[in-house]
Subunit: 224 residues, 2 copies
Amino acid sequence: MTAEDYPKPSVTVDVVIITLRDKELQVLLIKRDLAPYRGKWAVPGGFVHIDEALEAAARRELREETGVSEVYLEQLYTFGELGRDPRGRVISVAYIALVPAPLAVTAGSDAREARWWPIGELPPLAFDHNQILQYALTRLRYKIEYSPVGFRLMPEKFTLSALQKAYEIILGEPLDKRNFRRRINEAKVIEPTDTYHSGEGRPARLYRFRRDAIAEVKARRLFP
Amino acid sequence: MTAEDYPKPSVTVDVVIITLRDKELQVLLIKRDLAPYRGKWAVPGGFVHIDEALEAAARRELREETGVSEVYLEQLYTFGELGRDPRGRVISVAYIALVPAPLAVTAGSDAREARWWPIGELPPLAFDHNQILQYALTRLRYKIEYSPVGFRLMPEKFTLSALQKAYEIILGEPLDKRNFRRRINEAKVIEPTDTYHSGEGRPARLYRFRRDAIAEVKARRLFP
DNA sequence: TCAAAAGTGTTTGTGGTACACCCATGG
DNA sequence: CCATGGGTGTACCACAAACACTTTTGA
């Protein structure tokens, strides 16, 4: 027997697109203008083309909604319960994308309504997208503990204070400045540039992420 | 436009079934008796039925191959590159299953050849199953660091020495007996039974996994 | 000269790791 | 009584957390 003997489920990708705006984590959502869930907000997504790899489909969605595609993108989980889409059997592969703050200016180019939502003030969502979004946020908070993904939300050059504020927003707690700088330094994931940022107060040195820093350090073993 | 306007990919589940046998981690593989990759070994899997949830399909595969289904089963990753299956566009959702040692006696009930392979002596595999298997092993070794999944490879009752040996096999390194016992105790994930195991030497107390121990402890934060 | 943010070391406490001996049973 | 595996406590070291003042610039 071959694959063609059976009716097949549809396959979609949904991309949870996250950025840092206005000192908050924000998520890009689209207002649905078609049934089902017409008028509800949803995570951007769409069907996977037959000649398109999964990650390529996710990058296409990302580009369609934000105009960027060369950003951090990671597969999260595949949702395949029965009845999660009233149109029929739909399996959805969820991705998370992290968009650097200054790139996240325009949200969508076509006619549909799209906007950034602070993660603390989300509207009711279509389908099981609430579950998908919560999953993405959990993964982000978890991953930031042992992997330098936080930098993917920063512009190319940034001050240490800005980086610290980003971490504080993601983790939801204040951090000590000296300890923060020591650990960042020891992790060897950023390098100084020779430029400075002038604003109020003393100018701050700008740093950049070291692209050769593939430091995914092993977490501490707990069991046992 | 609707889902039905497009040709759809096929969706399969592949289940990496792992157990502890003969002081080794072993994986259940099936010898393919059909093209493509006829004669090669493959991870058990099959097409997802149109009226079957993803995890249900994985449990069905698991039950067909091992006779058990009430075991640890976790979704790993979804593989959706073009060209990964010569029969056409196939998207595969990979799962990992951990089968307790004494349940892993019979491997397969139908005519196909199936056997357990030590993970250090794997044969050439069909499709991209080598990649899937390596992914599963990485996830297992990683997850055992912060979550009590190791117990899912143990029988219902076990001695502390047997548990330690299991951890040593999974992690591939010797552990200190006193430190091991202290950490297991502090984690509060097992409880003593009032039965003992007699063999050579002094009888050992048998313990069981505390099912209410949902201790997925947060790993130490590294950045920063 | 004042406000505002940048930058910089030391002390203390907790937790991980290393390590050796006595105990209970069966043959 | 001997072989075999079961069971137990402490000392040291490394790293994380707490903590306050000086420096540089622009207004």
